[in-house]
Point group: C2
Chain length 358, copies 2
């Protein structure tokens, strides 16, 4: 049967203070639709995968938020990580968990915090992708046609078309976050696509790939066979999971395996990875300002983002290309061009004042 794994453990520190340590980005209603990014993700896949076959992997810290936001997903489907170990251990555990009750499962793996505007194209790509991975020993990733020389994403180079699978191509290479010059070359070549972080495979294919290319991860989770999807699972995970290496699925498996394919799609996609990306995909005023759920009076402001929690008025003047974000006990007012420095500023906040403002 078909399953969907939603990866939901990120800390989302790049949207501080709009997102906070206890309430990262995937749990926020970013677009004022009344639904969080996680809820939108679960809703988007619903026509293809029913809620009882949605598996959510999150940090145990967020258990109650996930339960509250996805009440129709069975409790047993919410896998709680006792430690943060990036995507590879998360994916390996989820595959073992699913395979325990359905060894023939096929799995869609989705980030919980991306924006996808074209739901129909997404569902069609998912359906065609599942057809492919259910009939081939293949690891399939979704590639997004790049629109700018983005340096924050990984790129996938397409190779020759797969036989009997229109729109699916062999992957020739992965390129991690490039320099700006390199990104321009990749963009112009037409052969490179953004790595969306959306993956499709059968449980058997991905578990085989772990054994072959990431044995240090397989060895952590293989001893749990017999306890997955049973009452013993959580005790096993509590013991084993923290010893898994902290590594992404791209590094651990995708860049090494030879049976990796890409399906190129136009999804109206954004990873919403930073304020700049959010600004790009949000509705603008004539002056290029973006407002996230607050009332704003902004004479002579342009190109700015106002993201303030609660029923609040912001009166701002003369801000060009600024981020103004507030939530709880923290207020951020920083030029968009200096977004990269926010992390350093937060380290300074931590060292001066401790964790309470993060």
């Amino acid at each position: 049967m078909r399953y969907c794994v939603i990866m939901c453990g990120g800390v989302g520190s790049r949207f501080w203070p709009f997102s906070r340590a206890g309430m990262p980005k995937q749990f926020l209603d970013f677009f004022g639709t009344g639904k969080s990014l996680l809820q939108l993700t679960a809703e988007r896949i619903a026509p293809l995968v029913p809620q009882e076959r949605i598996i959510v992997v999150t940090n145990e810290e967020y258990a109650s938020i996930v339960r509250e936001q996805l009440p129709l997903v069975p409790q047993a489907n919410i896998l709680l990580e006792p430690a943060r170990r990036n995507t590879a251990p998360c994916i390996c555990w989820a595959a073992q968990h699913i395979a325990a009750s359905d060894p023939d499962a096929s799995i869609i793996t989705l980030p919980s915090d991306h924006l996808i505007l074209k739901t129909d194209a997404f569902l069609q790509a998912m359906a065609e992708g599942l057809d492919f991975v259910e009939t081939h020993d293949a690891l399939l990733t979704l590639g997004i046609m790049p629109t700018r020389p983005e340096t924050a994403y990984g790129y996938i180079q397409r190779g020759s078309p797969a036989t009997n699978a229109p729109g699916i191509l062999k992957v020739k290479s992965f390129t991690e976050k490039p320099t700006l010059d390199m990104a321009r070359v990749l963009l112009e070549s037409g052969d490179f696509f953004w790595n969306s972080g959306i993956f499709l495979w059968s449980a058997s294919s991905i578990l085989r790939a772990f054994s072959q290319h990431a044995p240090e991860i397989a060895e952590v989770f293989d001893p749990g066979v017999g306890s997955y999807a049973t009452p013993e699972e959580s005790a096993f995970i509590a013991e084993a999971f923290p010893s898994a290496p902290n590594i992404s699925i791209d590094y651990a498996v995708m860049e090494k395996a030879s049976n990796v394919y890409v399906k190129t799609v136009d999804l109206g996609w954004s990873d919403l990875g930073n304020w700049g990306a959010l600004h790009d995909v949000s509705p603008h005023t004539l002056e290029g300002n973006v407002t996230q759920g607050c009332k704003v009076l902004a004479p002579d402001c342009s190109g700015s983002i106002f993201a303030v929690k609660g029923d609040k008025i912001i009166v701002a003047a003369g801000l060009k290309d600024y981020i103004v974000a507030e939530n709880g006990n923290a207020l951020l007012i920083v030029p968009r061009s200096r977004e990269q420095e926010i992390k350093t500023m937060l380290s300074e906040v931590r060292s001066r004042y401790g964790e309470k403002y993060l």
Copy 2:
């Protein structure tokens, strides 16, 4: 006996949103001392006038705040104005109220929301001023040596010294808020002093001055004689006060009377009339930033004021000469050079969203 009238009815809209409609500037702990400007004012005069002879005149809207902030001032001494009518009606009522039980009273009249750094000089000036007005039919005002060509203040021109009263001079003329060119001339002449809004007189002198120079005010309050300082006072005021003209003591009396004197002093005084004035008198960082009771991390910010209520962190970058102020449901981020426009912006907020954000 000696009395002190503290005028405490202002709305302080210029410090929005740090001050709010329901909590104007005089009730705020502006300098993080743990005491409001009103409390500091009452404390400052205490060595000369005991609390039971302090009269506080405020708008009825602020009755509970005044009682809470000045618990030692007797309830009967808190005069509640049923309408806003500027300083002249306030002063006339307070003088009548005091004269009703002590016709020979001398009175210090103080704004509740000014900063005075030199308490000793202030008390000495008050004591000497009282000696003067207790022995002369005189209206005495405190004049501050100007330090810059300020256009927001009124100026007092000094005349010849009073006989037998060192440091007290006849007033030759009043000049209301001058143009910048005019202010420069006044500053250089050495003959002009800022009008501090601090007044001393006997009850009989000020009431006589109202009768002579502002009969339209005297006529409102004269019929109340017999009810002042009795249980009938508030009923009389509720009826009569709203019919008083809306006018300052300067326009109504001081600019017309011939027995007006000025005592020139150096008090370390500021009227804290706007953010600029507050910035001038507050402790600065090396970069010229001023912080009002909040934690601030401000790389590449300079000349700015950060006034945010509550236990909060502000992370701001690249702001030059800005006002960042927040309180409750409102956040202001405006260049100091545009402070004059805030009032217009607030009108816009009112017309779009109503009173709840003001």
